[in-house]
Assembly symmetry: C2
Homo-oligomer: 267 residues x 2
């Protein structure tokens, strides 16, 4: 249970709308951790301890854990179990399937992992997403306009007068509200936030692409911020891989604090 109001309260308390992305790659973590019984979890735990005062959310990228199979899922479970309760937990999984299958994914993320939210891919339509919105207190975070060049292939194609991503914003609004539905909108297209806000005036937006992908925090805030902030800005690689040495956690804290400082002026 992580309500919209709780998220706003945490943002105001911490003067931050930062989400730290745990895209934890075994080949990129500091070598001294590899002797730990669960190196991936040891890394995540240290990063969480170092950054939790500067962020209001953690985004766990399921791909990086699935890459090593069952062992990776154990590390993922430990990570979700360890996340502080004052931070919104996001399973960045981009799932979506026919109803009876989406039911199983909802069970995986909302029951087994006990995530507060999960990212969803809308291609198959509303009935493929609906099962995720049947869990009280949980969030679905639906892909709208993503930060990668491939967003031009379909998302930015026009259906009648509107872009596909606009159709997704409007149509998904039929199965969720700003109390349980967010959208993914990439930081690399800040001007587009004006269009986004026409369809999602009060929804929180999960914004990847600041940092490694080159998006600008100021531009995102300029075009996307609302009275209740309404933004979760994700940074992954620029924080978690800030150093590859013994000081990796301190370096991550420094990067997270720098972003939090930039955000504080807008709150």
């Amino acid at each position: 249970m992580f309500s919209r109001q709780k998220l706003i309260t945490e943002i105001n308390k911490k003067k931050s709308f930062l989400c730290v992305g745990l895209d934890t790659d075994i080949t990129k973590i500091p070598p001294h951790l590899l002797s730990e019984p669960d190196p991936i979890f040891a890394f995540n735990k240290a990063i969480i301890d170092a950054t939790k005062d500067f962020c209001v959310s953690y985004k766990i990228n399921t791909a990086f854990f699935e890459a090593t199979g069952a062992k990776g899922w154990e590390s993922m479970q430990r990570t979700f179990d360890y996340l502080p309760k004052d931070c919104l937990s996001i399973a960045d999984a981009k799932r979506g399937d026919i109803g009876n299958t989406s039911n199983q994914y909802a069970k995986a993320f909302f029951e087994t992992l006990n995530a507060d939210s999960v990212t969803l891919a809308p291609y198959m339509g509303n009935d493929s997403l609906a099962p995720f919105f049947e869990y009280p207190g949980k969030w679905g975070i639906v892909l709208a306009l993503t930060s990668n060049p491939g967003s031009a292939d379909y998302e930015q194609q026009k259906i009648g007068e509107e872009f596909l991503f606009e159709k997704v914003l409007a149509n998904t609004g039929k199965i969720g509200s700003d109390e349980n539905l967010m959208f993914v909108v990439g930081a690399t297209k800040p001007q587009e936030f004006t269009i986004i806000r026409k369809h999602a005036p009060k929804h929180f937006l999960l914004v990847p692409g600041v940092g490694a992908q080159g998006g600008s925090l100021e531009e995102v805030v300029k075009y996307g911020k609302i009275e209740d902030i309404g933004l979760l800005i994700n940074a992954s690689r620029s924080i978690i891989y800030a150093s590859n040495g013994l000081d990796f956690a301190e370096a991550a804290a420094k990067e997270a604090k720098a972003l939090q400082n930039q955000m504080a002026v807008f709150i």
Copy 2:
């Protein structure tokens, strides 16, 4: 490594283009299996043993395994390891994300699970799918026109003169060929196969929706079959849950054989 030619050879040998879908739900398997150390795998093993002469492919629905977390992934790994080498293995995962994340999913399915193929969701565009096509001998199976009612929301919307699913067929063709790219096309819309074949004349199509979802085998063959067959017809629930008793495997074999018999006349 499972080439197009090998698939065609197996289809001709077995007189079948059946894919058996393992959507294995712990709450639906026969109660006598629940005392097994790994009931999900015990069920899958028995189903595979009973049906392998009547099908050329198995589709493992990742959601049903992820629902129980790391334990489920162990069952999934055992299932992939057990699949007969003359059947194309499909990880029905519907993944798709930015490049560095899709790389990790490709690793999960093509290396860790050693699946021959994985289903992919195209919403984020070609660069989100490209990493899956960099594995020689492996297949990407991209969602085009799905069998659920929600396919009307976006897939069947027009972008210019063409449906979104047509754009997906044409555009994905730039990163894969009929040697490593298939499409998902639901059996519930058989007339649409005529449009599909305009864009994918030689591609194999993975066709769910026969059986529990009400699609007709005859109609799919009428509109979708090509000289090299070009179809994998999936049936899941109608086969694997044909009986909930001690005879579940025999009942599954009977259902699979009945479908194989219906298919044999078209080969």
